[in-house]
Symmetry: C3
Subunit: 265 residues, 3 copies
């Protein structure tokens, strides 16, 4: 029983995600399919890369993750599939895998990249505008049925990588930026637990600067402060986040993706 996840920027009203599931089940009738998100901002590869990297590792071994955030559909960008450790990716070669690939390299996971160039694994008629249905869903179905990755196309060594903002070390801290704002209004930065490791032994002496506001001291958990208070803590994926306890930091602070955040101690 192979699990498949789907992430797109298709939204949820037009039926296109359901069509992809129909195509997958036509090839792999027993596949269990989970939506990951279909509300990626249109063409926002960076957001897709972030959610892919933090979600895929929680799936069972050999799960297939189909990601269709594809501003280059109908150009010569490569359709690809990849093995990243014990997870499989299917989608455009446009950098969506960047963050998980970096982790895979750090942790020496097995890697394999395949250019999907064998139309016998696609739908018979391939449109110019919906490769999610015509190429990626059928390839995911074949993977779920047990077709080896290497049979689906031609190996290649150099997938496209995004240039992503990196946090910068300061004399007594780090400067990063806001990279995600979630449904609750939590503000996630690209400063990570690894950057803070020593300072975390004295959390009360850390100050977080964001949007003209200084948050004195980090906390371990929301329960250490009262509802409505602004807090800085580590989110569930190891990134420094700024939140309002049982509220929305995004509604409180005037912050957008890309804004600077600084940590000092």
């Amino acid at each position: 029983m192979t699990a498949i996840s789907l992430m797109t920027d298709f939204g949820i009203k037009d039926g296109n995600v359901g069509v992809m599931k129909g195509v997958i089940w036509s090839i792999a009738p027993h596949a269990l399919i989970s939506d990951l998100s279909h509300m990626i901002a249109p063409q926002n590869i960076r957001e897709a890369a972030l959610i892919f990297a933090r979600s895929a590792p929680y799936f069972p071994e050999n799960s297939v993750h189909v990601v269709v955030v594809d501003p280059g559909v109908g150009t010569d960008r490569r359709p690809m599939a990849a093995k990243l450790g014990n997870q499989l990716y299917v989608g455009p070669d446009n950098g969506i895998i960047t963050l998980l690939l970096e982790r895979a390299e750090q942790e020496s996971w097995p890697l394999e990249f395949v250019h999907l160039d064998k139309p016998e694994f696609w739908l018979e008629n391939v449109s110019h505008v919906f490769h999610g249905r015509d190429i990626f869903a059928p390839v995911a179905g074949h993977l779920a049925r047990g077709v080896p990755l290497a049979e689906l196309g031609t190996r290649f060594p150099d997938p496209v990588r995004l240039e992503l903002p990196r946090p910068e070390q300061l004399p007594n801290g780090w400067r990063g930026e806001i990279i995600h704002i979630d449904h609750f209004g939590n503000l996630a930065s690209n400063i990570r637990v690894e950057n803070l490791s020593k300072a975390l032994t004295k959390m009360e002496s850390i100050t977080v600067h964001l949007a003209d506001t200084a948050i004195m001291g980090m906390v371990n958990t929301f329960g250490e402060r009262q509802p409505g208070e602004l807090v800085a803590l580590l989110g569930s994926t190891g990134n420094l986040i700024v939140s309002v306890v049982n509220g929305s930091a995004a509604a409180w602070l005037d912050v957008k993706i890309g804004d600077t955040i600084e940590v000092e101690w």
Copy 2:
């Protein structure tokens, strides 16, 4: 393993779609269920008909499609099930099947229509307001378990059909209308690839008129133009669409469902 799809105008916040899945699994514990859309505009049968017709054919043979867009719930409109080629429909007899039925007739698919008039296949207590839960979900469960369509009710010959806007031939082109605006803001018309067939050999000589704008030439794919440019092309279901490359034509042009679009060559 039978696949079931669900389409409703219920939205996603109130739990009603989940309840239907619970009812289905109570009867057919192994059914794989896909959402198609639950964001059909309230009571908009025409939108449901469009999405049903372009989605159902991508599902495996004998999939069951439950569609609950049902302004007539609690009136004497018939609950029905239908065989349309190798796909099954369960829902109100209010025209949702119109478009797929027309295709089925053109392509001589097998057809069967059944009035759901046997309460032994429903929940024990049937409310006046939620037939999705009380009639259609249980019937879908029984179909998925293998109960033949003909046993679920009484055959009838004449399902309700919607009056749908048809494109009109002009001396050198077609006049149609906008029938769908998708999540990306692509504007889909009822002018189809079949209407354009000869003209498509000289795409550069086609002009598309919409909302006081003239688009000179059609393209095969988004990649032929720069991001931000307005283009006319064939969408993934064979309809003429107007799009902005990596943008929203709906945000650019002041267009609504029903507006006129013309193609000339």
Copy 3:
């Protein structure tokens, strides 16, 4: 084959619900998982309690319902699992089960409450902020695999209960309040079919007062009135609701959760 439902206030854009499914399938690879709602208003336990009570009973015996509306995450609120009749609950001990528990007590269903205090059934690393992923999803997976409830933790007798607004009897009627506004704009009250039982034999003599409007007579179904008319009727869960036929009562009347509604005869 165990069915699992998921209800959260996580929204649908960040991938967190998909991650929970990945965790469940890593433990119970065959589990069928249904979303119930992920659009519960942030931290709104009362809304979650309402939807849980009216949804869970429609699922197959021994289904597992994971509910993560958890303003107390990272405090000492108990993580719990419960047997409520033939359904299982997994989530925080914060009152979400209140309404279904009351029904269970009235109908003498079997009951069992377990404090989830055995980390061997959780993910190895438990964050302070995402117990849905780290505790509740793995526990649901173990239940779906057949681990008995009693092995997952320590039994306790007294789950937290919400104080919920109760309807109040009047000389010739009831005074209640609006407790839910659904996707269609239907206004649901806490006055129930049991309260109205005798009066329902003369529905035309019932008057419903809401927001300075008096609705004369209740109806059985939308079909008894014309589209656009305001009606009072019993909703699919036995609550008195106020609706506009094929329209939105919420858009018509200026009503919010907690507003008073009165029925008299």
